[in-house]
């Protein structure tokens, strides 16, 4: 997505959260905040590299072939950190953002 496209999503999320939601109550406010969250999340995800599914790796982990594999753990942790940030930026500390989000 272009920077302009990302900016559209950012601005739409801000409008929903900061301008519209405070004027609403109950279900309408809840759904507006959900929508704001979804738009912001899609914006964060649009800036990420897609990660391929890996069914063979799943089977190998279950079979114990990667027990104690520090390099794999580091790779899985970095991938999970990026997805956790997409879902909820507050799930990462400042240090974790610095460590995992440089190369997204």
């Amino acid at each position: 997505m272009t920077p302009e496209g990302l900016d559209l999503l950012d601005e739409a999320a801000r409008l929903l959260r900061e301008e519209l939601a405070p004027t609403l109550t109950g279900e309408a406010r809840y759904h507006t905040l959900l929508a704001a969250n979804a738009v912001a999340m899609a914006g964060r995800e649009a800036g990420m590299k897609a990660e391929p599914d890996d069914a063979a790796l799943v089977a190998a982990i279950r079979a114990g072939a990667h027990d104690g594999d520090g390099a794999l753990h580091a790779r899985l942790l970095a991938s999970a950190a990026r997805r956790a940030w997409v879902a909820d930026p507050g799930a990462l500390t400042e240090a974790e953002r610095a460590a995992y989000l440089r190369d997204r």
């Binding site: 969250n37 594999d69 753990h73 899985l76 999970a80 956790a84 799930a91």
Partner: protein, 328 residues
């Protein structure tokens, strides 16, 4: 949607079920909550006496482990017999012409929404007493005679739990190496099999009702089944169900010690903190897989819902924290 409650077949069935001559349904309203069931509050007049009832039936789409409505009703009846605080079970209907299958129970007043129960100090009465009562109630559940439909007891509940979660991931076609790593780490440190009992398997803040005085009902029995009693304790204490009070390790409502004290006093069983810690790690993985299932309900078109879609993303934050705790 509420049309069923005025259908002659239903009204006829209701009079029989309540053992009355005449009944009228004055109001039917859908209660909030319940991704799996629909809950309807029915205000009826039965032989001149107003009564509040709750009718539970399946929502449009249901998740893997939930029992049929009939099994759930028999579980409710067993819990009622065992002195567990559940809404009084009244009758079960599986006849299509009355709008079945559904279960009918007495309405119990109270607030259940987890974040509100945790946040609102006016609810639940004295919180230490509430914690002890929740512990006592759980001990009574673990002492219940299990209805026949539960099948054979697993020899090793910890391994059965891991196998179940892997099965759910496979059924979704979800390749999640991060969750698999955390599951494998749990598998390698699993506690040896000990007691196996009837467990609630969704015993947490959000699934019981409180009023201003204290506990009024334990709800959401659809996942009940055989497991290690420590699994329920770990699920109750897991951080994901403490909402805005992660410091209150007893489900965001009390100190962990209050909950344990009530449980130990009623059951005569000692809570092993190391085993509970293992089940708390499993609780986060279970919630991650259930969150993925909910996300799939939206993505598959079974039930389009932005709330379900966003719930699916919770799996990513849970996977990240699980991997931090599962370093090689």
């Amino acid at each position: 949607m509420s049309g069923f409650s005025q259908a002659p077949g239903f009204v006829c069935w209701l009079a029989d079920a309540l053992g009355v001559e005449a009944v009228t349904v004055e109001a039917a309203s859908k209660l909030s909550g319940g991704a799996i069931q629909e809950n309807w509050r029915l205000d009826v007049v039965a032989d001149g006496t107003p009564r509040a009832l709750v009718l539970r039936r399946d929502a449009a789409a249901t998740i893997g482990a939930s029992h049929s409505r009939r099994d759930e009703f028999s579980l409710f009846a067993a819990a009622w017999e065992a002195g567990v605080r559940v809404p009084r079970p009244l009758a079960f209907c599986d006849e299509r012409q009355a709008g079945g299958p559904f279960a009918l129970v007495e309405h119990v007043a109270g607030t259940g929404y987890g974040p509100k129960v945790v946040r609102d100090a006016a609810l639940g009465g004295d919180r230490a007493a509430l914690g002890r009562e929740l512990g006592r109630q759980l001990a009574r559940i673990h002492a219940m005679d299990a209805p026949g439909f539960l099948g054979a007891r697993p020899a090793d509940p910890a391994m059965a739990e891991i196998a179940e979660l892997r099965g759910w991931l496979d059924a979704m076609g979800a390749a999640r190496p991060g969750l698999e790593w955390a599951l494998r780490t749990c598998e390698r440190s699993a506690p040896a099999p000990d007691t196996v009992a009837l467990c609630h398997r969704d015993y947490r803040t959000g699934n019981f009702l409180v009023d201003g005085e204290g506990l009024t009902a334990i709800l959401d029995w659809e996942f009940a089944g055989w497991s290690d009693p420590m699994a329920d304790i770990g699920w109750f204490c897991a951080e994901c169900w403490r909402f805005s009070r992660p410091d209150l390790e007893g489900g965001g409502v009390c100190a962990r010690g209050d909950f344990y004290a009530g449980y130990e006093g009623e059951s005569g069983r000692t809570v092993d903190p190391a085993q509970v810690a293992w089940w708390e790690r499993m609780a986060h993985l279970r919630w991650a897989v259930v969150a993925l299932q909910q996300g799939r309900r939206h993505a598959s078109g079974e039930e389009r819902s932005l709330a379900l879609a966003l719930t699916g993303r919770i799996a990513d934050t849970l996977e990240f924290s699980a991997l931090k705790e599962a370093r090689p």
